[in-house]
Subunit: 351 residues, 2 copies
Amino acid sequence: MAPPSPGIDRRALISSLVALPALSGTLIPLPAPAQLAPPGSVLTSWNDGPAKQAIVDFVRATTDRSSPGYVAPEQRIAVFDQDGTLWVEHPMYTQVVYCLERVPAVVEKKPELRNVEPFKTVLSGNREAIAKVPMRDLEKILAATLTGMSVDEFKAEASKWLETARDPRWKRPYTELAYQPMIEMLRYLRDNGYRTYIVTGGGQDFVRVYAEKVYGIPPEQVVGTAGGTKYGYEKDGKPFLTKEPKLILNDNNAGKPEGIHLMIGRRPYAAVGNSTGDRQMLEYTKAGNGQRLAMLVLHDDATREYAYGPAEGLPDSKVGTFPPALYGEAKKNGWTVISMKNDWKRIFAFE
Amino acid sequence: MAPPSPGIDRRALISSLVALPALSGTLIPLPAPAQLAPPGSVLTSWNDGPAKQAIVDFVRATTDRSSPGYVAPEQRIAVFDQDGTLWVEHPMYTQVVYCLERVPAVVEKKPELRNVEPFKTVLSGNREAIAKVPMRDLEKILAATLTGMSVDEFKAEASKWLETARDPRWKRPYTELAYQPMIEMLRYLRDNGYRTYIVTGGGQDFVRVYAEKVYGIPPEQVVGTAGGTKYGYEKDGKPFLTKEPKLILNDNNAGKPEGIHLMIGRRPYAAVGNSTGDRQMLEYTKAGNGQRLAMLVLHDDATREYAYGPAEGLPDSKVGTFPPALYGEAKKNGWTVISMKNDWKRIFAFE
């Protein structure tokens, strides 16, 4: 999906801000915990159905040496969008929460920002007002909280925040809001020789902080919206890299296949997304020869997670990042739609 | 080293152009073929000495679980410059030869360029005149021959050229001019759990065309000077990427550690280079904690390959990409210098 980059979809961001529940938001009753998967088994959080079948069929067709669709191990690349595909994106991208919550620390270091917009409004905590901050000003927040420090400092700050911050609905660390069926799909693909990549509109450095721990995906397999860095030296001569407010890759929409070419250099065999920001990545993957898997996660489970996009029953003009038209394109192009409600036996590991 | 990007070192390029031997250049007598290595052995093309010892000691220190310098497998990253480190760069970068030799095909498609500079001069074949073409004009050659086609077309063209083009001195495909000791070092590191990356000032897409075949390094492990691509659709709706004349990463000098952060996101444990363009990459690698290996290939073998840089005995102002000052920095910083003459039993696999 299309989080905190200068290329961010304004409507999605703003609607996220408005919709953010208060920190004291009511806990929605969770279903009883599902039985734990027996060791060594895979895809146990998936119900039998067309989505699970599509995954199993794809793996069989591309890894069985006797299959006409056999793919050599070094070619086995699978790419996954992050927000909304691998973990919860609603009502606000985790990274945007991070940036807003970093503002007090930024202002403490630079007190001259306290009465300057948009910092003043963010400090006020008035969410209605924050939602009205113009896009150009929101970018100032992103720049102030994501750049200007060394890559090591950023990593330390983001790690610390991820350990302590809690999602308001589930009262759990954001890193526990990864979808268990997707974690199983990643593992299943890796067990079958696929290298799994994240291809996210989110900040590459931010996602790298947790991707290894949460998904088993190492930093070098995270492709995301990326800013430049600047090489320099500390007083003692030790070199370091500073994060710069210069956009190198806007990894959304057409930027996703462009980023895949830049960072991977091969066309993936499988791609999973959940929004218009993933459309080109899915098209590009599916357009390759042989057997290819393209999947779209549909958020249609208002009880266990959220229902939005086509599940809202609204016209395209009223729907953000997964308009009904994309649903139509999925059907037309042979993409498999994953219904969270019907295809997933459980959503989170903690259930 | 610093090949065909807009950031190319002009002096190096021009001196390369002037020094290029005529296609009928005399063959320098080669030493008798070395004995073939017994299967399964490694580093057999290295003489015993400090360079070989440094490699063996580094691998032992970082992979022996009982060593204080033990490095977890997922952290084992080794980066290699390409031109002049993994294969011959003298007297001209292979990619520059490619670009110059592509000019007739470009002009055939766009006849209006025939009498336009710098295409006119390149078509004349007059090397003295080509060497005088201004840098800005040379960039037009690079743009015309490396961009404006789909990534698949580029790959097909470059592959075809690499199959048929011959180095004027050895009369062999350029892909055979890889240094056998470095191929063994790559293999030795991989056998010990390291992932080997190329980090080149050369064009990322160009190096990707041959890196897997020549070095066993897959496209996703080639970091290089990279241009943008543009996503679009063919008439039948099939999506494709076009190579654009827009620089995303100038992977030279400070651009090397910056590129490593962008594409890998981890500080390497080992780095090998051969020129000033590799200085920051070597510094950055060596500045990490624990055991790190930084090496510089010294071209001091005028008989079997070439002698240039410090081997020329010239002042810094007269030497191109490996000035004596870099040699001094290597000694000061604990980088290991690899003497081609003394450390390498044989240089090429075909010897």
